[in-house]
């Protein structure tokens, strides 16, 4: 592996991991607060799965960089400055109401399903293997969120209105899913990773149709969408401060 490839792959994996971590963190904020006990358990499971996937990607990045895979994930999560995270603003947004969190999870999972299908075909075997492990669980997540979207969209006037409001807010942020990940352009020629823009086209068609059937109208996107992963939302510094507070109190603590 050339130095350029190494750097590109590590950047790519850390961006994937950061998306999963921050989405999982936002989802975990529902624990103890979801609308019904069963869903509380289900969504906490899902949050934990996302954080587990983040760990897998961080570990893979560690092996690429020659870092210790046992320590690297914690270093990245608990001791990295907010400005060095490479997640999308889509996953940083506060959890909102149940419709918002569920719809965000659906939009993200639907995209991820296509990306994982591409990564399973990767010419870089460790990447293909990790994607294979994650894909199973993500298939289940997608089934769960796909079950909720039409039930809320076609439910009551209130659930429909909340879903539509969530879609109006989320849709512009979701456009950033189509932007190439850090390192992606260096990894594409060797077929190590799928191209985000072509995944986005497939995703966009599929999601639009599904939302329409759930009585939800995709809004027009006005103006430019921020897709630069070095630019974070106003909510992100607080999120990272919360996430890192305890670990930073005693960096050497054994958990």
């Amino acid at each position: 592996m050339s130095e350029t490839q190494k750097k590109a792959l590590a950047d790519y994996l850390i961006a994937l991991a950061d998306d999963e971590l921050i989405l999982g963190h936002r989802d975990s904020e529902w624990t103890g607060h979801a609308p019904i006990l069963e869903e509380d358990i289900a969504f906490a499971n899902l949050a934990l799965d996302e954080i587990g996937h983040a760990r897998l990607w961080y570990e893979l990045a560690a092996t690429v960089l020659g870092a210790d895979p046992a320590r690297f994930p914690d270093q990245q999560v608990y001791f990295r400055p907010a400005a060095q995270f490479r997640c999308l603003q889509l996953v940083e947004l506060p959890k909102g109401d149940w419709a918002f969190s569920m719809l965000r999870q659906y939009l993200f999972d639907a995209f991820e399903q296509h990306r994982l299908a591409g990564l399973v075909q990767s010419k870089h075997k460790p990447l293909a293997d990790a994607a294979g492990r994650i894909r199973n669980e993500e298939l289940y997540h997608l089934r769960h969120t796909r079950a909720w979207v039409p039930r809320l969209g076609l439910g009551t006037a209130e659930s429909q209105a909340r879903m539509q409001a969530a879609l109006d807010e989320l849709w512009p942020y979701a456009q950033a899913l189509g932007a190439p990940l850090p390192g992606e352009l260096d990894l594409l020629p060797a077929s190590w990773v799928p191209g985000s823009s072509s995944l986005f086209d497939v995703w966009s068609r599929e999601v639009r149709e599904f939302l329409k059937e759930a009585s939800l109208a995709v809004p027009e996107v006005q103006g430019d969408v921020e897709s630069d992963r070095t630019v974070h939302s106003e909510y992100f510094p607080t999120l990272i401060a919360d996430l890192q507070e305890v670990a930073r109190l005693d960096p050497e603590a054994q958990w």
């Binding site: 019904i36 069963e38 358990i41 289900a42 799965d49 199973n136 669980e137 298939l139 289940y140 089934r143």
Partner: protein
């Protein structure tokens, strides 16, 4: 004066959850979940009951679709006329000890839940459960072989710590003593 006694129960309906742990293993009653419908009940059942333990198949059935009779109730009752309704297939389950899970006994065809119960008593006369459950096959949603990988495979790879493995109390003691450097 008439009192309005309207039930305003906002709770979702209850579904019984059954689980099969391995090929050839009995289908056992595991507990209940609330859900708005069968599909959501199956998903909830997976998250509540099958995330950690082994499972290859989950069943969910609306609690109200289950017709149940205890051994005592059965002893006291009259035999049922064969109902004129259309014949349907029923699953038969029984609970054999107070502490045991309700388990699958077999299947019968009958024209009503009561007739199904009677058919079960005849067909499985050698079995003596404390109580019987019968419910129509059509009321059940069973996870498919295709569901196995996404629903149950990830649990097999997961390690999890038992609560007792977290030495929280010891750690807190150590942390507190660290904060008081003058005391040894």
């Amino acid at each position: 004066m008439m009192m309005e006694n309207k039930k305003t129960d906002s709770q979702w309906p209850r579904f019984m959850v059954f689980q099969q742990a391995a090929e050839g293993a009995p289908v056992l009653h595991n507990g209940t979940v609330h859900a708005p419908d069968l599909e959501m009940a199956l998903l909830n059942a997976r998250d509540v009951f099958a995330r950690r333990p082994e499972a290859i198949t989950l069943w969910v059935v609306p609690a109200q679709a289950i017709y149940t009779q205890t051994r005592e109730e059965l002893a006291a009752r009259q035999s049922v006329d064969q109902a004129s309704e259309e014949q349907a297939d029923y699953y038969v389950f029984g609970k054999f000890e107070q502490q045991a899970q309700c388990r699958q006994i077999g299947e019968v065809s009958a024209g009503s839940p009561r007739a199904a119960m009677q058919a079960a008593l005849t067909k499985y006369a050698d079995r003596q459960p404390l109580w019987w459950w019968v419910f129509p096959k059509a009321a059940v949603l069973i996870s498919t072989p295709q569901d196995r990988e996404p629903m149950f495979a990830p649990a097999r790879e997961k390690t999890f710590k038992d609560q007792a493995e977290y030495p929280v109390v010891t750690l807190m003691r150590q942390l507190r003593s660290k904060q008081k450097p003058d005391k040894k």
